[in-house]
Symmetry: C2
Subunit: 213 residues, 2 copies
């Protein structure tokens, strides 16, 4: 299969590609071998041209009228998204959300492995949740080095988030997945992706509150 390396893919495509993965895995499990853009587009209610562009960005090459070989397409998407090489992560803040993320076994299908956690409550130090042991914040630099950690996941309350981000950046982390409802300041060398639940909820509650006014 032809496959060209292309790191500059439009972010909307990067955001849509993961959505195709469950369908492709499902089709493979059913023993299907090929799938067309229009089949995928129909499943998701997307425009076929958009799907075609998303798939072209992966470098996978389809055949006219026959479509893509599903295993090759899946491989190309996972490769592009960086899901075929496990990156180690440390999670900071083992509250409700942190705990849930530590327990989520499927992250390995999405390219990350949470190998350590940090918490400020003394009684949690030394606990193990799945593969992650809980350490103190002052151990962060050592752990990041020893365990070759690239990603920091921030699940602390908002007022503590910037301090935690500073520690992560100093420890040499490359990317941060931030769940705290704050805009973090960081050096240019660190990439931040935010999951802001309050912001997402606001879009929903704003709509419900004002749709009839």
């Amino acid at each position: 299969m032809a496959r060209k390396k292309n790191s500059h893919i439009p972010e909307p495509s990067v955001r849509r590609l993961p959505l195709y993965v469950p369908l492709l895995r499902d089709e493979l499990a059913k023993g299907r071998e090929r799938i067309s853009c229009s089949t995928i587009a129909t499943q998701y209610g997307f425009d076929p041209t958009q799907v075609r562009k998303d798939l072209a960005a992966t470098g996978a090459v389809g055949t006219a009228r026959v479509g893509f070989k599903i295993d090759e397409l899946l491989h190309a998407i996972e490769d592009l998204l960086g899901w075929r090489r496990l990156k180690n992560a440390v999670l900071i803040g083992v509250g409700n959300l942190g705990h849930a993320l530590l327990n989520y076994k499927a992250f390995k299908h999405y390219g990350i492995s949470i190998v350590a956690a940090i918490d400020s409550s003394e009684e949690k130090i030394g606990w193990e949740i799945e593969e992650a042991r809980i350490y103190r914040l002052e151990d962060l630099v050592t752990i990041v080095k020893e365990k070759n950690i690239e990603i920091g996941i921030i699940t602390v309350p908002a007022p503590a988030a910037q301090e935690v981000a500073d520690y992560l950046c100093e420890a040499g982390i490359k990317g941060i997945w931030n769940f705290a409802p704050v805009v973090l300041q960081k050096p240019d060398t660190v990439f931040i992706e935010n999951v802001q639940l309050s912001t997402s909820l606001a879009v929903l509650t704003n709509h419900l509150e004002h749709q009839n006014t």
Copy 2:
């Protein structure tokens, strides 16, 4: 305070406004009375003109050189986002993530109250997590009516999500907060907001994978 009802606010403003709330609450707690757009902009590294537009959209009126009264501004933002009237919600799928969301007490500050949950495992039926009791899926219609529920939160695995969404729509829900990595089909009368963790993670892992290539 002048306050005009305005339901057609640009979504980017709706997504930024929740970010200002922690700062405003914090300033109020410190006994401050007024805040300016430029102070807020500096705190977040945003453009002051953008902050001014966001705040203008709430209908709150500031005074030149003195800024906004913090309590009035907070009130206006919360009002706009629909956070001053609690909306009842039912959560479907009490796995790790569902459990974490049920335990999250701060949702009431964001305008929702999870008053019931649904799960498919028989042994969980009747459990109570915070204020939510767990019911069977076949009880959904009755519960939505009895408890005056407007929002459905979907935390089931991807293959079950569309069926659950169909049940919610039939039960008369107005909005869905969807955590499953699927694009849901729904009637025009129902509003869906997605939190797709795999998609968010993909943006991060794609960047880390290809930034050096």
